[in-house]
Subunit: 353 residues, 2 copies
């Protein structure tokens, strides 16, 4: 049979990057490509104990169907945490659990955007999110960034010339540049969203991994108008294999996302949600996260020093204050795809072009 796929599939091809990186599962390869958290950071013994305790005390609760919105005690714990950080408005907001922040991003796009609607994003940005948008036939417009974040003048020009449904932003330690948006830029971006009545998808998976510099409030903290959907995840602070993320934002939007989540996976694996809940109950958060920051800071400094020492002087490099990504720009005459192929085949080092 000759298969005919939906029009959205035309733009969703398996990427050149994926092809290059498909053999990174080879343990001989040094994996600098994907945003896998360090396995040294996984509290394996604690999770093992939590799991056993769950089966000892409530095995049926761990295994039966649960509600789409997410395990209520986990959502209550997340609301408390988000409130501490001024990212939850008791009256207007709701929190739902998603299967990774990735699902939060996809669901937001699905409920907000019809085919041909425009989403603006930083250029470059996280491929996983961009592909989620493409899968709904959204028109993507990238806006350049400088050292302070997205270029607000260029962003406003896009707002004036397109009907922008949403902005997709990673203000902290952006994937893939590692850059952080300044407070002034965050405020300017928020003002633009309100002025042009567009939703901000604020993706913050790395925010807890700041290893230098001062913390900057999330855009969500300014949001009096209900324009921000704020996505976070347990992937980088606990373990990505759990697939537990969450979204905080206006009730009205989240109610639609719940309906779409129900037709997608009914609910996220309840065991994983309950592990995250018990993790939040058991750890002293600031102490736990401080250890993670020390670990990633050490890794970052080693990487930065090695680049300084071994790389030629023509390259440019970003100086992230946290997170998992750092970006090196090679001179123009170098073919990045060929370089990456050579890196993985000859030096067994995986990097993303």
């Amino acid at each position: 049979m000759q298969y005919h796929f939906s029009p959205a599939m035309d733009r969703l091809q398996s990427s050149a990057i994926r092809e290059i990186l498909k053999n990174t599962a080879d343990p001989a390869v040094i994996p600098f490509a994907a945003g896998n958290p360090s396995q040294e950071a996984f509290p394996t013994q604690m999770i093992r104990e939590i799991s056993d305790e769950l089966f000892a005390t409530d095995p049926i609760g761990v295994l039966q169907y649960n509600i789409t919105e997410g395990y209520i005690p986990l959502r209550d714990a997340l609301k408390a945490w988000l409130k501490e950080e001024h990212c939850f408005n008791e009256e207007k907001d709701e929190v739902i659990v998603t299967s990774g922040a990735q699902q939060g991003i996809e669901l937001a796009c699905k409920v907000l955007c019809g085919s041909g609607d425009t989403i603006v994003c930083e250029s470059p940005s996280f491929v996983g999110s961009l592909n989620a948008f493409k899968s709904y036939q959204v028109n993507l417009v990238g806006v350049e960034t400088d050292e302070e974040g997205i270029d607000v003048e260029k962003l406003e020009k896009v707002m004036q010339t397109h009907t922008v449904k949403a902005m997709y932003l990673i203000p902290n330690f952006q994937n893939p540049t590692g850059k952080t948006m300044t407070l002034a830029r965050r405020k300017a971006v928020y003002d633009l969203a309100v002025k042009y009545q567009c939703i901000i998808l604020e993706d913050n998976p790395y925010g807890d991994l700041r290893f230098q510099g001062e913390n900057i409030p999330s855009i969500k903290t300014f949001d009096t108008e209900g324009v921000v959907l704020y996505m976070r995840s347990f992937s980088k602070i606990l373990a990505p294999g759990l697939r537990v993320g969450y979204v905080s934002g206006p009730k009205e939007i989240l109610a639609k996302m719940v309906i779409c989540k129900q037709v997608s996976d009914v609910h996220s694996t309840i065991w994983a949600q309950r592990v995250c809940h018990q993790f939040l109950e058991k750890v002293e958060k600031s102490e736990y996260l401080s250890k993670l920051r020390t670990l990633y800071g050490r890794k970052y400094r080693l990487m930065a020093e090695s680049i300084e020492k071994y790389f030629p002087s023509e390259i440019q490099v970003t100086h992230p204050e946290g997170g998992l990504f750092l970006r090196v720009t090679l001179p123009d005459h170098i073919d990045m795809l060929a370089f990456c192929k050579k890196a993985i085949n000859e030096a067994k080092v995986a990097v993303v072009p």
Copy 2:
């Protein structure tokens, strides 16, 4: 802010059923509404031991990112099982793990159907799937069923008058009627799919729960042309909270579904996939499933006998040979919504209108 949602959201409202049933979490309510498997059927001790063993032997593997297609040893075990049942073509097929069969259904619709394409289904059919189709603005056409399954003449008329992209069928112990499609009907439906070049989404979550009558081969077993996507799940035989299902079908379609799954949840919770893998390794399948069939057969007979004994003679009732659903038709003059409200409020019995 005034929110504007995507056009697909107009057809996806929170249903009257959901509103009626939202308080079924009340432990005083007798839950005959949702397809929750019996908690007596959960092998809780085995899952607890498997979980502990996984953390003892490969904690990092359980917690780190994995590939979108699903945990390879689980997929290999599923291929072996599907091969035994003639539901896997070594040369042409692939198997991917999904977050419940629900995700398999949603992804199939996403890759196959554009807005306005038609999917035919049995009338009535499983609300979760119908809503997944609606969420992609698919045109749904229901075809009546008789005691042998979907009416093939009426089905062909629909094929002649619409461009049907897919048929959605639950041949075994259908949700919500409990009916089983005969072998002759399965063959007729397959022939129509080939003749009109349309995909069959064969949803088989209950097939292992036959408690009376003879097993009937899946439509997938006839499929020489690559028109069938076959969905199964661990939800009804192991535990639904795990959210592990799988799809077997033509490689070309599954490759597209993998790209869409990647933008949806990256991969299904790896712990849950590995629990399912170890479950298949440890149990003697036919013995395990035979115990389940005995359990559900006992429950069915109690229900059938009670209906016979206590219900008025004007009602009609289906006689399922397996699965979790049985359908009672009340006389025309009774308002079903009002009846269901009364049932839950006064008698604390939850049923679906």
